[in-house]
Symmetry: C2
Subunit: 352 residues, 2 copies
């Protein structure tokens, strides 16, 4: 193996100080574009790899933001991740994503332990969770210990487990979205509405069920527990659950509120295979507004969640948390709104 | 800030040597499950973060595999990435993903420079590329310099830029897939077939066009350059290009071969909006077999690419490259096959 090129070799070649090379390559301070280009060119020509020791000697931070994402193929997650990655890039840091090595809280914490070895400036957890007392305690401890190290815990599309934690939290208003889309069905005359999908007790599903129930109650309709089918946020769950219902006889609902667009796409496929027309026979709405919602036939009326904006906002708040503008704005809740497409048919006109 | 817990503190608490703690936390050597659990528990209880210096003192490798992915929201990429991440986990390493900071070769190389700071055991580049002489030269230099450091360049869904590089390459047979699906259309009587989408000259698109042309020629049909519409592998491109064609008058083709399922889904939407029935009026096929292919109406006949298997195979070959079984098997080409669904109508029966 050849001798490793040092920071000073690159500095000499680029005609700048070693500190400048470090600033450029770790991306943590502002350096002119021209100098940046010169240093990068010298570093590449010399095949220079920054080593962690050199970095710590000049006292700069790692320039890394670590993101933990459960399933990279799920559009809900990967669109938040794209927003995160874009903003991390705009802030001159580098985004590293990792999937938990195994499922559940233990898997998430084990992966976090590994990510912390890279000394990230922030660790971002993406998406909902089943909050247990153990989860609350351990995430709280994590937030405090990252804070003590000068790093930051960021929760993205996930509520704060307890009040007063040193963490950046960016949520979206799932309950308002569920209330709005259920009201949309109710105002179209649908009173028997199946709630389909989402794990019972997950922080993603709970506000969606709450909004659904609250809308029914505002219309003077007692929620029927037989019309709530909890399961998973997957196409397979939506498909199989609606298959099960239709195979057992005539459905006793006129509309389906799928708690996510994937479950809605599965429900649409099952309805089509059973010869049930959407929206003529049954109306279907979803949640999230991921790309599949425009490719289903009919195109899906759903709740738009600003997934990429959630990601961008989280990074902005976390990295600028010491600035006056952001210091007291470390918990944001972004709005949601209905996207009306072609999957709802009015039954009768009715007002609450 | 509190005093940082050291490797030796964790070792004392777990009742093992410092070297064992290091082996467990960097995940690079085999340690019994029981000892692993004990060390991890102690490390978590003491909130221990491995630092790079301690790691280098005990001489173990980083345990990291770095993956570079252009667009995490594109199913073609993120399904390969899921296969990569799964196999990295199965090999007791940690997968870190990163998107290029800016587009093109410069962006890719700049991100690679940053990822190399983490001393990954391998750097994986995912998906096709426009190969230029400059690209070939610089990727070749990268492969050799990673090799000199004991790391490995891995190309996944991308061909080797030159022969004899010290790199692991896992491709899929795009040309055979394109030949098979074009032949499927030809044997159904379609002779005027629009090729839609894919950047001209990209390593992803080139074999698809070649397979399309070769099938036409085997049927004795001269490929018509007016029927090749290059563009992007996106839904928007498929939608807008077919809009443009249909708005200009009657199409002079009976079938569309979209070079990827996203472009196919856009084409289907445009055809539907123009009142053109698929497959009754025009047949449509895609490529890749990503999830949207089952949610379009009609469901899309397409070419299945084993995306997750490409990812898993690449990691297996790269991390075991010194073992006799894999030493001379560092270039793999995985097969593709047609997935017949509902988007093709036979015009007439015909044999070549």
């Amino acid at each position: 193996m050849k001798r490793r090129v040092t920071l000073h070799d690159v500095a000499a070649r680029a005609g700048v100080s070693a500190a400048t090379v470090s600033r450029v390559l770790t991306g943590t301070h502002r350096v002119s574009a021209e100098t940046q280009a010169r240093v990068r060119k010298a570093a590449e020509a010399m095949d220079y790899v920054v080593n962690a020791q050199a970095r710590s000697l000049v006292g700069s931070s790692s320039g890394l933001v670590a993101v933990l994402i459960t399933d990279i193929t799920a559009p809900f997650y990967n669109r938040i991740a794209r927003g995160l990655a874009e903003q991390v890039g705009a802030e001159n840091r580098v985004c590293i994503l990792s999937a938990p090595q195994t499922g559940g809280l233990e898997g998430e914490l084990a992966t976090i332990t590994t990510l912390r070895q890279q000394s990230p400036e922030a660790i971002v957890l993406v998406g909902g969770v089943h909050e247990s007392p153990d989860y609350r305690k351990r995430i709280g401890a994590l937030a405090r210990s990252l804070d003590a190290e000068g790093s930051r815990l960021v929760l993205c599309g996930r509520p704060a487990p307890t009040k007063g934690l040193p963490a950046t939290v960016v949520e979206y208003d799932g309950e308002a979205g569920a209330f709005a889309i259920t009201s949309h069905l109710l105002s179209a005359g649908h009173e028997r509405i199946l709630f389909l999908g989402g794990g019972q007790g997950s922080t993603t599903t709970k506000p969606r069920v709450t909004g659904y129930r609250r809308a029914l109650e505002e219309y003077g309709i007692a929620p029927d527990p037989k019309l709530v089918a909890h399961g998973h946020s997957t196409r397979d769950f939506g498909y199989e659950e609606v298959n099960r219902i239709l195979d057992a006889g005539s459905p006793d609902f006129t509309a389906v509120f799928a708690s996510d667009d994937l479950a809605a796409s599965g429900a649409l496929a099952s309805l089509r295979e059973h010869g049930t027309r959407v929206p003529n026979d049954i109306s279907v709405v979803g949640f999230d507004d991921i790309p599949v919602a425009v490719d289903t036939v009919p195109a899906l009326t759903t709740v738009h969640v600003p997934l990429e904006e959630i990601g961008r906002t989280a990074i902005q708040l976390a990295l600028h948390r010491h600035e006056p503008e952001f210091r007291n704005a470390q918990h944001a809740v972004l709005g949601t709104h209905i996207k009306v497409r072609d999957s709802v048919r009015p039954l009768v006109r009715r007002r609450p």
